[in-house]
Symmetry: C7
Subunit: 73 residues, 7 copies
Amino acid sequence: MDRPIDVLNNAKGKRILVRLKNNSQISGVLMALDLHLNMWLDDAQETKDGETTKLGTVLIRGDTIVMASPAEQ
Amino acid sequence: MDRPIDVLNNAKGKRILVRLKNNSQISGVLMALDLHLNMWLDDAQETKDGETTKLGTVLIRGDTIVMASPAEQ
Amino acid sequence: MDRPIDVLNNAKGKRILVRLKNNSQISGVLMALDLHLNMWLDDAQETKDGETTKLGTVLIRGDTIVMASPAEQ
Amino acid sequence: MDRPIDVLNNAKGKRILVRLKNNSQISGVLMALDLHLNMWLDDAQETKDGETTKLGTVLIRGDTIVMASPAEQ
Amino acid sequence: MDRPIDVLNNAKGKRILVRLKNNSQISGVLMALDLHLNMWLDDAQETKDGETTKLGTVLIRGDTIVMASPAEQ
Amino acid sequence: MDRPIDVLNNAKGKRILVRLKNNSQISGVLMALDLHLNMWLDDAQETKDGETTKLGTVLIRGDTIVMASPAEQ
Amino acid sequence: MDRPIDVLNNAKGKRILVRLKNNSQISGVLMALDLHLNMWLDDAQETKDGETTKLGTVLIRGDTIVMASPAEQ
């Protein structure tokens, strides 16, 4: 059986959805990932309180993440 | 006697219920688990404040978890 | 003299009471325990704000725990 | 010169007062102690917001503690 | 495939945008970076609640950071 | 050049002032100190919201401390 | 290229400005620094909510710091 992080390793190069502890939702293409769940996303945007902001290329710190999902299932 | 995490190791491939620190409740099929309680769930959904959201396949970060139970007891 | 955790090691197979950081109180039979105070409880129930919920078999993450006591003293 | 924890090591078998991060105050007889300040107390009681609750034998998780004092000085 | 932090390593000497856990936004030229995401920024300014403050040269502690992006994409 | 903690090592046996994360201020004679900033104080008292409480001999957990100063400068 | 902390190592013996997580601002002469960003400041003062308090010689715990800057740039 796989490790939990494999669900994201299998999504490299594809769009994922990330929920942060501050309740914002990030959508972006997963370019790189490490064991702390630090993530490099491309073409990212953030949705919070119904408002969407373009982030472009972004590094998200793993310890701010609640959960993450592949967008195309 | 077993380790605490064995209660979840024995539930692999089965549905579990997970309570998060932000008070949301996740239900999903446990696919993978590590010692930090990072979890890969399939067919997951989240219930918070009486509202249910489909999550599908999701990685949950272990440090956001309060408790977890096998759903079929 | 014993280690602090021995007060729970001596309670294996018996009912304990666990107070969580979110102020809920869990009662359950202690099945397994590790040094992080992760716990596997059977026949557990949670009381919060005067309301009681059945949890059954549950894994509680150690870092959410404030204190724990043997129920039968 | 001693280590800070020696102030409690010298209090083993005697009553101590423990202040928790949630502002409750615990009084109990110190039975065991480790370097994380996890503590096993006997004959413990908790005072919070002017109300006192009997705890009996209890394990307190060290990371919830602000300070601790020998009760008999 | 690269590590997440490479998205910032590639931005050394260039302007980046940093979001902090307290919701302020820092803009500055990235001079140095470590694995904890501690950052040395030059010519930095902070925007919070619509107000902008000049910071000049600043060290930002990594554990206060939510995300960071290259400003010129 | 010295280490930061030397400012307190030089104050052993003398009165120091300690500010806690919960905004209370402790004054006491520093008897012992470790690298986590755990401190053993004698003849301590706490001031919070204008009210002063006698603590006597107390162990303060280092992770609750914001800053500390020698009282006699 | 330097490490982030070098921006402060280069400021030893000079005045720096430190922002804490509780939003207070400390100004003081940097006497010593370690990798956790624990700092020994001399001739320090704190500004919070428009009010300034003399601190004199002070040890600041690194984990309470958001950012720090040389005052003379």
